[in-house]
Symmetry: C2
Subunit: 213 residues, 2 copies
DNA sequence: GTCTATACACTGATAGAC
DNA sequence: GTCTATCAGTGTATAGAC
């Protein structure tokens, strides 16, 4: 019992190292976040870290796995295209609401910073990035748009192209939010842009727009 | 005369240093492209470089200035919105043709690699990046779309939003091309996507699409 | 302008005492 | 598990001879 309380209080040294490393890497990048700095933040000598992780790389991938894999791709699990695509515009609203939530969440912001930072340096990160932003999301959205085309909700065309056209601005806005924050530029006008995007997109593709308003 | 020939042959040590640095930085990033490596590539001792450039940072900004400032923003100089926007879709085709040309040009590819690499690290690079991809191009395109709205070529709306909607996929494709190349993934299907984007976009915004085909 | 030699800070990582 | 001590390597940059 005492041991358990102690473990929670300490949060296990392994966890504390990960937290400290996440903080530092998000703040100054992988290279500059040295083992010495991580150790200092945790309150350890740098050599003690090597009892918990083989090397710096192992710490990095522990962070990536914990955040990227588990927290990033949850929308389509909750709202699979097959079941919800028929709702058309509402489905898209919910999709961008998720992206928006993620874009402004501090934890995901840290992760996204790290990912962008290591995008050129680290092939594993690059593969995760490509899979998420250029494969997985596009594939799922394409399926949704294919169903919408079948139901006659939107004009027919290449579902993959449609998915990219819908997704690209979200990608663009998300990077914009991150960079604006880094440069201390205001992001308030970006809070409504996600919904505006859906409106603009929907007006361009929906069948009803053929009838002039 | 002899001195001039010699200068051309040598290309001036200063220039050779820039070329070598560009190559190395694009290949391994700013951090890992050490002064030792740059010197070795030029055929100098590392200390000799300091006779030409104060430090590594000065080399970096010499490259940035040379490439980014001069070669990046040339489209709107040749085709200002005021004079060409009335041509509607054709103007957009020419715009994406320029972007496409840049995206597949080896020299610009190197620059873009470096920029993405240093995006998180270097505030100056970040400012250039933001100015180019989120301010300048959007502002110019918004002007073009505003004129198109006035001429009744496209449905009216917020010109800035329209510009972002048109530009974001180009941004998305360009990053995709770079990352795919880095991962040795095929980019052949991306060579036609720029034109497809214009078609998709135009079908969504042009006035004539109100009449069913 | 270019060389040799060197200074100095910092990196990731290891050996061995406790 | 954590400590002290230490390693080899890499980084930018400078002093002074030629």
């Amino acid at each position: 019992m005492d041991a358990q309380i102690e473990a929670i209080k300490k949060g296990s040294t392994k966890e504390k190292i990960l937290d400290a490393a996440l903080e530092l890497i998000a703040q100054m990048g992988y290279q500059k976040a040295s083992m010495r700095k991580i150790a200092k933040k945790v309150g350890l000598r740098e050599s003690a870290i090597y009892n918990h992780y083989k090397n710096k790389e192992e710490i990095f991938f522990a962070i990536m796995q914990k955040l990227f894999v588990t927290d990033f791709d949850n929308f389509f699990l909750k709202k699979p295209p097959q079941e919800h695509a028929h709702r058309g515009k509402r489905y898209l609203y919910e999709y961008v609401a998720t992206i928006k939530l993620i874009s402004f969440d501090p934890k995901h912001e840290k992760l996204f910073r790290i990912v962008l930072w290591e995008l050129m340096e680290n092939s594993e990160v690059r593969k995760m990035f490509l899979e998420h932003f250029f494969d997985k999301n596009i594939k799922n959205l394409a399926e949704a748009f294919f169903l919408m085309m079948q139901k006659g909700l939107i004009r027919s065309g290449d579902p993959m192209l449609t998915a990219q056209e819908f997704f690209a601005p979200l990608f663009y806005f998300r990077i914009q939010i991150l960079l604006f924050k880094m440069e201390n530029r205001s992001t308030t006008h970006l809070s409504t842009i996600f919904e505006k995007h859906v409106d603009f997109f929907w007006e361009g593709v929906c069948i009803n727009s053929f009838e002039p308003t």
